[in-house]
């Protein structure tokens, strides 16, 4: 049983109770993905599995045999920040930084969701591809809680990353 995390293969743990998040944090010391609530309510643990975002606190590691996981530690190109990471810094899309990795992973994922035309709860017309708007971004990031109140900077950063039409 192996899992690939940021292009590195790892043996999966024997203990079936271990969440993907705890596996990464406590066994692999990959602390970039954060544990805010451990119940799928805050989004701080968001990672990509084969390109799709999931909440790694609600995923059992053993279920991800053979899958490829990307975490916040895997999106930069060496010293060069991922474009969305750089936009978070420029736009003050953070304060304490604890929700930041999850916000960025959700931001990366929502861009591809929009690009392939996946609708959201605020999409006005389900028969056509959703029209880019700040509300589309906000809705798709609403599973990522921020308590410091960096919301405006976060949305500015993701909007700049996603590009396209703004209201």
């Amino acid at each position: 049983m192996t899992i690939e995390i940021n292009n590195q293969p790892y043996d999966l743990p024997d203990d079936a109770r271990i969440s993907l998040l705890d596996f990464m944090r406590e066994r692999l010391e990959l602390f970039g993905s954060k544990k805010g609530c451990n119940q799928g309510a805050c989004g701080a643990c968001t990672v990509l599995v084969d390109g799709e975002r999931i909440l790694s606190c609600l995923a059992l590691a053993a279920q991800y045999d053979g899958r490829s996981v990307t975490t916040i530690e895997g999106v930069a190109n060496g010293d060069e920040l991922h474009p969305l990471q750089a936009l978070f810094v420029e736009n003050e899309g953070m304060q304490c930084g604890y929700c930041t990795p999850g916000q960025i992973m959700s931001g990366i994922a929502l861009k591809s969701e929009l690009e392939r035309g996946a609708p959201s709860n605020v999409s006005a017309d389900l028969t056509v591809a959703p029209r880019m708007s700040r509300d589309e971004i906000k809705e798709r990031l609403s599973g990522n809680l921020c308590r410091c109140g960096a919301h405006n900077g976060i949305i500015d950063a993701v909007a700049a990353y996603v590009g396209g039409e703004e209201q």
Binding site: F31, E73, N152
Partner: protein, 784 residues
């Protein structure tokens, strides 16, 4: 749905907003509805040029590290042999533990230790805030020392195991039996015996004249009552600590708002010297008043000592709700009497809040009423009842968060009765000096803030008539309120400046940075003080081995750091003077006649006479020049001046007439907080407070089961907070007038955003619907 945001987008990119404020447009707009121009404002001090190098919107220094996921938090340090902690919480509010069955847990896989009051080391009671100058604990309740239970959720056992999964499982195997005692878990019951509270060195009672008689005699009066529930900080990082006893030192990686005070408090509990505790917290995942000393620190350290193993103790989200304190609930009365022109003849702000037996913190919800408006007669009083509950504690803008809600809603109601615009009513009661102390304002430009806010928001003046309108099924309204928070500076600040041979400097101070941008702001202040480029300044913080005993609380840390840097700079000048060679014209000049600028030491009398700092550093034996000092006396706000920050908050609210859904599509807030040190970070701080206030207004509340005192919604699934779709783009601005009495010209900005929005939203809801909501949170059922 489209959010209309006039003014806001252009504002964001406008680097010259202070000129906007000074411009004639604002004055003209307000002049159109009759407000006096320039009343009660204080001009910028002539020395404002001294602050010229501050205010640059540097990006935060820790931004890239946080964006990479590389910032290390308390639960992210590992040691060989480290074990994981789990807690068992009491399920009764008050009583005695009669039996603890732990054998099954002790035999469970991976378990290293089960600690209860029967085998815990003997510990002193923690010192809570105000019990000593260094008290940092939320309560003095003994930590697992006996069988007594004092609140529902009190830790009664600690399990240490090799993995978190094993510890969590073993914790479920412990059976606890209790003999219940009678507990006070009802606000109403506790209120019956509530007493006028003594808090922060004074009785919470101010009486000037005869406010009740003046109210009865007033030409116009209102008398209102309000309720606000308990609130949780809900930092996204749950409280956690990694602990290690090694070589006679208790090493703690913590998430603390005050590393030095936490270390001293914990040292006293263990009966060791503070020098034997090394506590650091470089990154803290949100604080808001809640990252102080709670039982988990002490339990982790005690269990680590008993098991002789390093311990990681990360509270579950439920655990945070069970053992880390919350903002207290309040029941408030605000009664206002005025003459027909709106001049207040009576201001009554009284009420009841709750505390626990073992702390000294009373939610001081009358402070804005004490300092914001002139009134001929005043009665301000807070009574505190005692409940057998989770400790109450400080949370962002203690007192002012709920106190401005009640006062500012009352002013709105009075304005309507008087048929006077709400801004005009406030301006008519703007005090020339502090209304209760009589001291002069160090700087106050609230009227300017009203004007600028009104202009940018597009405020429609009103005289007793609602301006709300209907748009399809949405009822739309607007409201405004004032914001308030006091300036403070606590003693204990200190800093060390070390100049290196490359023209740079290291600043060391035991300050905390929970995300406000402390290191970024400190580097800018140091750059300005020292005359050394911003990028050549390194800042170390968040470690109790560094100078000072600072706490990031009450919006005072930046002032404390500024005063410390000023003092350390004076010592540094003396050090540099001693290195001046005899051949230099600067030789023999005392420190008081020297300054530093542009990388050089110079003569204040003759600035052309200077020596590069690197040349002086080269003359020192160690190759560095270092100076350390404590910040000066804090008399500027305790004795000399009235120092308070204020602001004006405007909101638009939409209420769905079918569902009752409440939306807040527009907020404009203008603050008068002295000099703004970094516009980018300040904007974010103000918005952060406003967003937490949005949550307090429309959704937040910790629900206690009055039958047993247990928090009923200890999770993010049931304690609602604002998320992205709830949050509009928030237009913020400031007067940017340096406070001549504050060490950096800045009065502090962390809390004030939390005060004002609740009332502005409630007033806008009234404007939209005609319904007055006086209890928080205002959920849709209140408007159906």
């Amino acid at each position: 749905m489209t959010n209309i945001k006039p003014n806001s987008s252009s504002h964001k990119s406008d680097p010259n907003r202070r000129q906007v404020l000074a411009g004639s447009a604002a004055v003209a707009a307000i002049g159109a509805f009759g407000l006096p121009v320039g009343a009660q404002t204080t001009a910028a001090p002539a020395a404002s040029g001294a602050f010229a190098s501050l205010g640059v919107p540097h990006i935060r220094r820790d931004g890239a590290e946080k964006a990479r996921g590389g910032a290390k938090f308390a639960a992210e340090y590992s040691y060989p042999g480290m074990v994981y902690g789990a807690l068992v919480y009491s399920t009764i509010a008050r009583g005695t533990i009669t039996s603890l069955e732990t054998a099954e847990a002790e035999a469970a896989p991976g378990v290293v230790l089960v600690m209860t009051h029967e085998n815990a080391p003997r510990l002193e009671r923690p010192e809570p805030f105000y019990s000593s100058p260094t008290g940092m604990a939320g309560s003095s309740t003994p930590v697992m020392q006996d069988a007594e239970v004092l609140w529902n959720g009190q830790p009664v056992a600690v399990v240490l195991a090799s993995t978190q999964e094993e510890a969590d499982h073993a914790a479920t195997l412990i059976n606890v039996a209790y003999e219940e005692a009678e507990a006070v878990t009802s606000f109403d019951v506790a209120a019956e015996s509530a007493q006028t509270s003594f808090y922060a060195g004074r009785d919470l009672l101010i009486e000037e004249g005869d406010a009740e008689t003046a109210l009865a005699d007033a030409e116009v009066s209102i008398d209102l009552s309000f309720n606000t529930p308990a609130h949780n900080h809900n930092q996204i990082e749950p409280h956690a600590v990694t602990v290690l006893w090694q070589d006679g030192i208790l090493r703690m990686h913590d998430c603390s708002q005050g590393v030095d005070l936490s270390a001293i408090t914990i040292a006293k509990v263990f009966g060791i010297s503070p020098a034997e505790v090394h506590l650091s917290a470089e990154y803290v995942g949100g604080g808001f008043g809640g990252k102080t000393v709670w039982q988990y620190h002490i339990l982790a350290a005690a269990a680590s000592q008993l098991a002789d193993r390093p311990v990681r103790m990360s509270l579950t989200r439920e655990g945070v709700f069970r053992i880390c304190g919350a903002r207290a609930p309040t029941r408030q009365r605000v009664a206002l009497g005025s003459d027909r022109e709106g001049r207040l003849t009576s201001l009554i702000h009284t009420g009841t809040t709750m505390k626990i037996e073992n702390n000294s913190m009373t939610e001081p919800f009358f402070e804005q009423s004490e300092h914001m408006y002139r009134a001929d007669n005043m009665h301000l009083e807070i009574r505190a009842g005692t409940m057998d509950m989770l400790a109450n504690t400080f949370m962002r803008a203690p007192g002012a968060a709920t106190g401005t809600f009640t006062l500012e809603v009352a002013l709105d109601e009075l304005a309507e009765r008087l048929a006077i615009d709400p801004i005009e009513l406030r301006v008519r009661n703007e005090p020339e000096v502090n209304p209760t102390t009589g001291r002069a304002h160090s700087q106050r430009a609230l009227v300017d803030a009203y004007r600028e806010g009104a202009r940018r928001f597009g405020w429609i003046p009103r005289s007793g008539q609602r301006q709300g309108y209907r748009e399809g099924e949405w009822q739309v309204g607007t409201g405004m309120a004032a914001a308030y928070y006091p300036y403070k500076r606590f003693p204990g600040g200190a800093a060390r400046i070390t100049l290196n041979g490359e023209g740079g400097a290291l600043i060391e101070t035991a300050a905390a940075d929970m995300g406000m941008g402390t290191t970024t702001a400190t580097a800018a202040v140091a750059s300005e003080r020292l005359g050394i480029p911003y990028d050549a300044i390194e800042v170390r913080h968040g470690d109790n081995t560094l100078p000072g005993a600072l706490i990031a609380a009450a919006s005072q840390q930046t002032a404390a750091i500024g005063a410390s840097l000023t003092a350390a700079h004076e010592v540094l000048l003396a050090e540099l003077a001693s290195l001046v060679p005899a051949t230099s014209p600067l030789h023999g000049l005392p420190a008081a006649e020297l300054g530093t600028a542009e990388g050089a030491l110079y003569s204040l009398a003759d600035p052309q006479q200077q020596i590069p700092l690197v040349d002086l550093v080269a003359l020192s034996e160690s190759g560095t020049v270092s100076a350390e000092a404590q910040g000066g006396p804090i008399s500027e706000w305790t004795q000399d001046w009235s120092m308070h920050s204020t602001g004006a908050v405007f909101t638009e609210v939409r209420v769905n007439s079918v569902t009752g859904e409440i939306r807040v599509p527009r907020i404009t807030a203008i603050y008068d907080c002295g000099k703004i040190l970094n516009s980018k970070l300040a904007e974010s701080q103000f918005r952060g407070g406003i967003i937490m206030a949005l949550g307090m207004t429309l959704m937040e509340g910790a629900s206690f089961d009055e039958r047993n005192g247990r928090v009923m919604n200890p999770s993010f699934g049931s304690y609602y907070m604002p998320t992205h779709l709830d949050v509009p783009h928030i237009d913020v601005g400031w007067t940017d007038i340096p406070d001549p009495q504050a060490p950096t010209g800045a009065r502090g900005i962390g809390e004030i955003g939390m005060s004002g929005p609740a009332a502005a939203i409630a007033n806008a809801i009234y404007d939209a619907t005609g319904k007055r909501a006086r209890d928080l949170p205002i959920r849709l059922d209140a408007l159906m």
